[in-house]
């Protein structure tokens, strides 16, 4: 980021503070990895926790910052109250999760429906015979060849010592599952997802794993089951970035 132009115009301390705070905010390492996983990009080593950015806020006197902010917080609270009065939000809507139709579900669907995000439930049993339906490329197949070994390697690894290691391992399994799905290898995908679900029941890539699971079931030729899982996913995650992909699977079986 370049210099903030208002600074050159002799901003007040509060102006400078607000601009710095907004300019220095950044997404988490976990978020970056999540997007990379969704895009199918190679896993990156998670960097160690970032040192506080040497932004402009860091250059200001701590006491001055605290004083301004402590005071501004009071005003912020006031503003908050004003906003609440101006635009009351229905509190029930704030915390209520999307409701799912209470109809009985087939076992795997019920399993998914009962899984609170980002929990990933174990995969339903898979039939590896459907690999013949592969639509993947030779390149993707070659990528997927190491899926089993990767999966086994990661599964046999001791419990992660820190969150960076944890995220890298999660991403390895998600990458392995994705490569297998792309190669049409449903049994390898299933294996990787099962490892993920058992090793990381509250993993950071729960949605990605759930979508891969739906694709795996679809890949096995169980289109009706895949569509049911897809509909459940859509009910649970109506604003998911994966909605368009999952919607296509849900629509295909209708």
């Amino acid at each position: 980021m370049s210099d903030l132009k208002l600074v050159a115009d002799q901003p007040t301390p509060l102006e400078r503070l607000l601009l710095d705070a907004a300019a220095n905010e950044s997404p988490s390492a976990e978020q970056r990895m999540r997007v990379r996983a969704a895009l199918g990009l190679a896993a990156m080593t998670v960097p160690p926790p970032a040192v506080a950015p040497a932004g402009r806020a860091a250059l200001l006197g701590k006491a001055a910052i605290g004083g301004v902010i402590a005071a501004s917080a009071i005003v912020a609270l006031m503003l908050s109250g004003a906003l609440h009065r101006a635009a009351p939000a229905p509190k029930a809507a704030l915390v209520a999760a999307p409701t799912v139709a209470p109809s009985p579900l087939p076992a795997p669907q019920a399993q998914l429906a009962a899984t609170a995000e980002p929990v990933v439930s174990p995969l339903p049993p898979v039939e590896p015979a459907s690999d013949a339906a592969s639509t993947g490329t030779s390149a993707l197949r070659s990528t997927a060849k190491s899926v089993s070994s990767v999966s086994k390697t990661v599964t046999s690894t001791p419990a992660p010592a820190d969150s960076a290691t944890d995220l890298s391992e999660q991403l390895l399994l998600i990458d392995a599952a994705r490569a297998a799905v792309a190669a049409g290898n449903s049994s390898a995908a299933s294996q990787a997802l099962s490892s993920y679900g058992s090793k990381f029941p509250h993993g950071s890539f729960g949605q990605e794993a759930a979508v891969l699971r739906i694709e795996t079931v679809d890949l096995q030729g169980n289109h009706g089951q895949a569509a049911a899982l897809a509909r459940t996913f859509l009910a649970q995650h109506p604003n998911s970035p994966h909605v368009s992909l999952v919607q296509r699977i849900a629509d295909r079986a209708q």
Binding site: P27, V35, S72, H84, A177
Partner: protein, 192 residues
């Protein structure tokens, strides 16, 4: 996801083309992901929704990679991010208010510097919310992302003079909002 990659690869798939697409996507991610995330954040989304929105933007880009002209990657991502943020902002506003309520309950327990940062970002968000979208967008790109006027104008697809005019009005709005806050901080001023 796997299907996204397959779409990127296109059919019939050539390994070299697939690698080129992947490399292009990688560059787009490395060059623009954080910018897109900050953009949707400053357009009013909560951190969690900004995560989802940024991911959504890049999934759209992956699906339409072959339609994106070389050199227009940032423009495509920017336009998509504006649309995604607009579609999410209404429901997300409720999240912001809910988080405010949590903030009031928990502020005493936070480390001071982190709490300061959160409060500043919170207040900045409120001020930006008070700006019209066209002013806010130019303000974000210029003041927070450090873009030049020609860069801003090209990205927003408006004449440079229009961009400069919007920035001037946005700065006035920002300074007025901050001044209003500061006036309430003067000794003797009432805060309720």
């Amino acid at each position: 996801m796997g299907s996204i990659l397959q779409l990127v690869v296109s059919n019939p798939v050539e390994p070299m083309r697939a690698e080129a697409s992947k490399a292009r996507l990688e560059r787009m991610f490395n060059d623009h992901h954080d910018f897109i995330w900050r953009l949707v954040r400053r357009l009013g989304l909560s951190p969690g929704s900004a995560d989802d929105a940024a991911q959504h933007v890049f999934l759209v880009a992956a699906e339409r990679l072959s339609d994106i002209k070389l050199g227009s990657e940032r423009s495509f991502l920017f336009g998509t991010a504006l649309r995604v943020a607009r579609s999410q902002s209404r429901s997300d506003r409720r999240w912001v208010l809910e988080e405010d309520m949590d903030f009031r309950r928990s502020q005493a327990g936070r480390p001071e510097d982190l709490a300061d940062q959160h409060r500043a970002i919170d207040l900045m968000g409120r001020i930006l919310d008070g700006m019209a979208l066209d002013l806010r967008t130019v303000f974000i790109l210029s003041e927070l992302e450090g873009m030049t006027m020609p860069e801003v104008a090209a990205l927003v697809e408006i004449p440079v003079g229009t961009a400069a005019s919007r920035l001037r009005r946005a700065r006035e709005a920002f300074r007025a909002a901050v001044a209003a806050v500061e006036s309430k901080l003067q000794p003797g001023s009432k805060t309720s």
